[in-house]
Symmetry: C2
Subunit: 192 residues, 2 copies
């Protein structure tokens, strides 16, 4: 039996990321899991939804640049920390060792296996959140998490998945099946 | 060492959903993992990014309603199937047993443990994709996947996570740590 819970957001789990910006001349970082994939194909656009009360928003609006880094499981404490404290009263510029990419205002975290630099494309205004849509400019990846075909090995990234209902980070499991493939038997059966 | 791979979308894994619409008077379904969370708080807004060539888009634009259902691992073949074949030449209205919610043009799938009904809020236009942002109107959940506190037990949902690099569906792992909690030790240490 189904229960109507009312308008509950059940779009979980979502990928836990660390969004990097420059505010008042300093790098600032925030844990953000309210993310999205917009256009697929070139250009690539992704979204990060940040509460309007957060410190990071002004930095993105000023410089029109930000980074989205994907932390591994072993960074769970640091990731949670940058989600717990606000840049308004805490300097988070030294929490991570950084590296330089192509943009000037998209600070990149060395320890994250995957880091994307984004140029702001547009901002969506909602009741509590601003959603920043970024065009991906460059993606920096640890060489030792690449597979032989040169693509990212998700098992090596060991991303953390966020669930609001349990207020927990979850690990990723194992590959289940191939996309655009495991349904082919059904396609043949329904056509036959 | 980091490698600059160029503008690669590395925002994976993402949640695999089945988007339901009504097109030409018939329910149609498509597997969509390019999803997002927009506003958090009331109202709740989520996004689904659908290639402009797809059959579903016209239905959402006509009725301004759609559903987003979360299939379990045991629905991997059916989920992949509705992503493999187009509603333009295949009738997918009988693939799933449906149930009625509050909206007339947001077909809901009985077998999915979680189903959200959405009213279209706005449409974003990108090069290849239209992103449909929906306000969640109602969320229907299998009673036997609810925890004692009445919230959704993600372990019972057994969602499928999509990865573009491996073109695979992945399972969810286990809870790692509590959000807004596991970083508290670091907060105390850095303040002290």
């Amino acid at each position: 039996m189904k229960k109507n819970m009312g308008p509950v957001n059940a779009m979980y789990p979502s990928l836990t990321t660390i969004v990097g910006v420059v505010v008042n001349g300093k790098p600032n970082f925030s844990a953000i899991a309210h993310v999205g994939i917009m256009n697929h194909g070139q250009p690539q656009y992704i979204s990060v939804g940040i509460n309007k009360l957060h410190h990071s928003n002004a930095g993105i609006l000023e410089h029109r640049e930000f980074s989205v880094c994907v932390p591994s499981e072993d960074m769970v404490a640091e990731t949670d920390y940058v989600g717990l404290v606000s840049g308004k009263n805490t300097d988070k510029s030294n929490v991570f060792e950084l590296f330089e990419g192509e943009l000037k205002h998209a600070p990149l975290i060395k320890r994250c296996p995957v880091c994307m630099e984004c140029r702001l494309d547009r901002v969506l205004d909602f009741e509590a959140h601003q959603v920043f849509i970024g065009e991906i400019v460059a993606t920096h990846v640890d060489e030792d998490i690449l597979r032989e075909d040169g693509k990212i090995d998700l098992a090596e990234v060991r991303p953390m998945l966020f669930d609001m209902a349990s207020a927990s980070y979850w690990s990723l499991g194992s590959p289940l099946a191939s996309c655009w493939s495991v349904g082919k038997g059904m396609k043949r059966r329904l056509k036959g």
